[in-house]
Amino acid sequence: MLERIWLIPLLPALGAAFQFFFGRKVKKSVVSLVSVGLPGVSFAWAIGCFFALLGRPEHLFTKVLYDWWPVGAFHLSSGAMGNLNVHVGFLLDPLSAVMMLVVTGVGFIIHVYSIGYMAHEGGYYRFFGYMNLFMFSMLVLVLSDNFLMMFVGWEGVGLCSYLLIGFFFHRRSASDAGKKAFVVNRIGDAAFLLGMMLIVVTFGTVNFQAVTEAARSGHYPILDPTITAICILLFIGAIGKSAQIPLYVWLPDAMEGPTPVSALIHAATMVTAGVYMVSRANALFMLAPAAMALVAGIGAATAFFAATIAITQNDIKRVLAYSTISQLGYMFTACGVGAFAAGIFHLMSHAFFKALLFLAAGSVIHALSGEQDMRKMGGLREKIPVTYWTYLIAALAISGIPPLSGFVSKDEILWQSYAGPHGHLVLWVAGWVTAGLTALYMFRQIYMTFHGTSRVEPEVEHHIHESPRSMLAALVTLAGLSVIGGFIGWPDLLGGSDRLGHFLDPVFENPVPVALKNYSAGREFDLMFLSVLIACTGIYVAYRIYVRRPEVADRVAKSFGPGYEILLNKYYVDELYDALFVNRVKNIGNAASGFDQYVVDGGVNGVGWTTRLTANLSRLWDLYVIDGAVNVAAFFTKLMSYPARVIQTGLVQSYAWLIVLGVLIFMGYYLVHF
């Protein structure tokens, strides 16, 4: 079983090859059979390998297929001789085993879902070809035993992501989004590449185990500048791939791709590659506390920042995109405080519930014939019940309601960021507030989409239908996983044994002390209670505003008169923020009493204000920095067309002038500069 571990990535690759060569000619049923069947077999094989791995006492398996690149001897930066030999090899340890199962499992479910979702789209075989190619690249990324092969997978998933975002290429916005994603990612990739080169000259190897061993040998001091530089460069690579501040902007635009793509690539697997990479290099990061602090800080800031934006979005998929960015921020916070296992645990449970959210959102979009604007939804609860219930489960899970998976993993991160060796109260507060915001935007979405009166356009209304069975099967399976997923890492405090954490421990065992700060069990319980409380508060606030709207609207109407009612009916909730905000300013002197007035409104106003600030900042950043970088051609055309016109005149004699000038300059330089 384990000896043929290379079958796991190979099978999807065969599927992709089949689609590219024969996909156009064969029937749709054959396309789906091959492209869903092969990842299915690969998933089964992965399960087999997982149990075979459990059977090994040391939980470790390596397999070298062949020597890829025997570089030979060279001088290391330390002066010693190194002998670099890169091979194509696989490393299966608890960390890669978890990733392998998530990628093949969730990937397989999403493939099943796509059969129904893509049934009416053109380029069916092309879609599945790209999806299989993505699975192959992602599996190479997680199963490789060295940085270079990981980088191959890393670039491969980026390429597939680019191709799939632009799948609906006839939409200009889709192809632009694809290009934006690719270019922004390349910034990260360049840093990753530089980091890798530094690893080569420092350690003389790119093998994960060898690098980890060297880093843990005690040969390198903590705060070693080279290792810190390596970690920061690797982390910049992770920032690009995992959409963290400041390189997050490509992910919301990536929602132009088909929904299964958003679920597979931009929620469950590819965007988590950065978290996996940082965890894989945990031995290096433990030697670089400064880099760790950077990881934690950026993670917590992104988590909060993206959650505030998510509250204002009206596109059902964009809310989920910002939510993904926010949840990835949690994972990086975990890595930054040294709780890599908690990060991976959250990665896994997030893969379940976020894939589910996207697929269920896809089911909603499917039911509404392509409508994505939540302002044109509402009251769908009875019409698409399965979608509704699965959506609700996922929303409860991501909001952190016990005992669903999101509660367990998020709480582990919050506890570690409070009590962990690199933890800090600020990190915990940021995470805690974000948890409240998460519940708020998720239930805002639930209420706007499924509750209240229908705002669906009449001609769409007739066609509302529940999705085909292949899609519902995927939804129900993922809902089940979102419910029970938490139990494999159920904390000791609540009578569990955190089996996942203990399983992962050998990968993250560092000689640097990682003991938790000394707090009583009571403190952990208090914090757990607080996080459930804020989640419930978030849900309650959403309920107040979006379900019991008449009451709020009445209040607004009173202060603005009947003219506002038209606006209200036209715009619903987003104008409500403005109204409440304005309302608040007007009544600032009123000592209005009651919970509603103080807590709910205050919270809403505060959130509204911060949100607008952050949204504006983000818009400016988008406008000036990222779009500037993406539209680099337009920018440079202006900047450089002048010198180009002067130099590249097309005239032989001005060229000859330049050559003579070059001769004189070089000669002058060479003669003077001995």
Partner: protein
């Protein structure tokens, strides 16, 4: 006897005149003759060095250069005729359909 430096100075002057002519003359045939002038400056340098070193290699090289220059003239004139046929002009500053 004329010292070596005189020959080399003359050769350098010829080379510079050739290069300047290349840059400033408008007719392609004249420009081409300027290249020949530069090659002859090289030949002069080779001859002078060879003579003053008492080493015949340099004079041998001059023959190579002359042969190459002849081949170059053949190719160059052919290109000039072909260009004249398609454009009806030999003004070098009209050769600018491709730029930027």
């Amino acid at each position: 006897m004329v010292p070596l430096s005189h020959y080399i100075a003359l050769s350098a002057i010829l080379f510079v005149i050739g290069a300047a002519g290349f840059i400033f003359r408008r007719n392609i045939i004249t420009v081409f003759m300027c290249i020949e002038l530069m090659l002859n400056a090289v030949n002069l340098a080779f001859m002078a060095f060879s003579r003053f070193r008492g080493n015949l290699d340099g004079q041998l090289f001059v023959f190579f250069v002359i042969v190459v220059a002849a081949a170059e003239a053949a190719v160059g004139l052919a290109l000039i005729i072909s260009l004249y046929r398609s454009r009806d002009t030999l003004a070098i500053d009209e050769l600018d359909s491709m730029k930027l």
